[in-house]
Symmetry: C2
Subunit: 332 residues, 2 copies
């Protein structure tokens, strides 16, 4: 049983116990370094006995490599991001990389936070949030390996990006809805300043335009269920629409509830409702949402690929494009 409250043993102390120098201890813990296998085994045995583990902080200082990854996210609870976050965290951990979560609603706080994380010499930065200016991120993390950003492209030697293309899927969805006889569309955006939201909106607006249609009404929420509910109520009172395209799935669920509960309109007959993201909850029986969805696994695969590319010093930022697909539910 290890003693409590005792300082962790250092390599120098272990060296004395094993009758070697601290350099040899270090080598015993570095996979491919010149060391006799007998010595290594003996050291590892003694290390286990005394509970020795190399201090990652000291190691990082020397290596210039912290194995820390900053994850900049909008929110942790939000299901649209959570599934991806979860996946990414697992993939990082498999690679012995530790994720530091930076999560902050307020703009200035976010900058402060990124500055703080940058002092920890993180090896990589993944920006999931489209609320942070890439230029700010680059300025703050200019000493790390390239930054990976989910969406917003920025022409900079430090930024690798993942582009999302949902235009084809939006086209299919609009096609179906128009085929069902709907004509009066509304778009319910996420946050106003969101880059990705503008992009998503464009896919649908373009798809409508192809058919000579436009938006009859528009509103802005904040990606939350409550905002979806509230804005849908206002929207439906304000304008006569028979289809609402929402900025994400959670707002779509809110809008669906609002239509049903407050206006007595049911999907898909009275009104069509479309989400975006393709989160698991969208497929739940009680929701069964029609949604423009992105393959989360493919997305995270892409992020991991970019990280590995950076790790391998195959620098030069890179860009990967992913295509969305439609998930057909009973709401449109």
């Amino acid at each position: 049983m290890l003693e409590m409250n005792k300082r962790r043993i250092t390599s120098k102390e272990l060296a004395k116990l094993a009758g070697v120098s601290s350099a040899t201890i270090s080598r015993a813990f570095s996979p491919d370094s010149r060391i006799g296998s007998a010595t290594r085994d003996r050291i590892l045995a003694v290390a286990r006995e005394y509970g020795y583990q190399p201090n990652a902080i000291a190691r990082s200082l020397n290596n210039q490599r912290s194995r820390l990854v900053a994850l900049v996210v909008n929110a942790i609870g939000n299901p649209c991001e959570a599934e991806e976050q979860q996946l990414l965290v697992h993939r990082l951990q498999e690679r012995q990389l530790l994720p530091i979560i930076l999560c902050c609603a307020d703009h200035d706080d976010r900058l402060q936070l990124m500055r703080l994380a940058s002092t920890y010499q993180v090896d990589h930065v993944v920006v999931f949030s489209d609320m942070v200016s890439m230029q700010d991120a680059v300025d703050i993390f200019h000493t790390t390996k390239p930054i990976i950003v989910s969406f917003e492209p920025l022409d900079n030697e430090k930024v690798s990006s993942i582009r999302i293309d949902g235009s084809a899927a939006a086209d299919e969805i609009i096609d179906k809805i128009v085929g069902d006889g709907k004509k009066r569309f509304a778009y319910l955006s996420g946050t106003k300043s969101s880059w990705i939201d503008k992009l998503r909106r464009k896919w649908f607006v373009d798809a409508l335009a192809k058919r000579g249609l436009g938006l009859q009404a528009e509103a802005f929420g904040d990606y939350s269920y409550d905002s979806g509910f509230k804005e849908a109520v206002l929207l439906l009172h304000r304008a006569k629409v028979d289809a609402i395209i929402c900025g994400n799935d959670v707002m779509a669920i809110g809008a669906r509830d609002a239509a049903r509960r407050v206006l007595g309109k049911n999907t898909p007959d009275d009104i069509a409702i479309v989400g975006q993201d393709g989160i698991a909850m969208a497929a739940w029986d009680c929701n069964d949402l029609t949604t423009l969805s992105l393959d989360h696994v493919a997305f995270i695969d892409a992020v991991v690929e970019l990280i590995e590319r950076h790790d391998a010093e195959l620098e030069g930022p890179h860009s990967i494009t992913l295509t969305c697909t439609a998930r057909w539910g009973s709401t449109a």
Copy 2:
């Protein structure tokens, strides 16, 4: 504009630029250290100019204080934890503490992961997951400040804990359901090995026992919507019950959907369904769940209080007890 790809400037280099020693640089960045205010101002100005920020890794090595906090969680996406995680992350960040997320389903991986995090000399450990043995956690993190564990009590000088008491609320809920004429109860557990799940189950079993009732049937899920749905179907085919108490809200939503969709039974008339956690989604119009809920803010307040207690070296582990309340919805 800062130059790209350039090594971060060090305190020694900045010292040269400012015409002082690196010790003085350090003092300029330490709030209460003996330094002339003129010198400090000059240094901060030069630092800003060259984009200097003290290297937190080096600082941690020296200080024996990393300002890193390990958060051991079951999953990131799971809404029951996500709300708390989100809150805690914010509170930590306010205190300039950076959270490292450890998230892992598999038992052995989890131990590996905790060992990895422990090499980063985290200052605090918060265990949100009831899937990890506290004894393992203590063995691994025996050099950090006391561990904070959400639920499972362990009599150890390194463990502070937060106890949850839901017995009174369970009593109220059972009272209401029995008053509505229901008699045949089932309990749908979360994971089998979960400590907290056993506790929650006990609250309800005790409340039933008080009224001379027992469980007619029982099943085990994994806290997910899908498992709630599937297990409820099996359960309702297997046994005649008119009330299902679920281990968390998400399973309750799954069970409600299963009852309605597969069996054609509606809440609360045909069957009563109760959740636990009190997540935001439970209050959504489409769910409106009756649930035994915990005040997340109070919970995180308690966690933060324990962390500050440890930080202030008012050591000695401490224990805080929180009481759950009932949230009344239309499902029971």
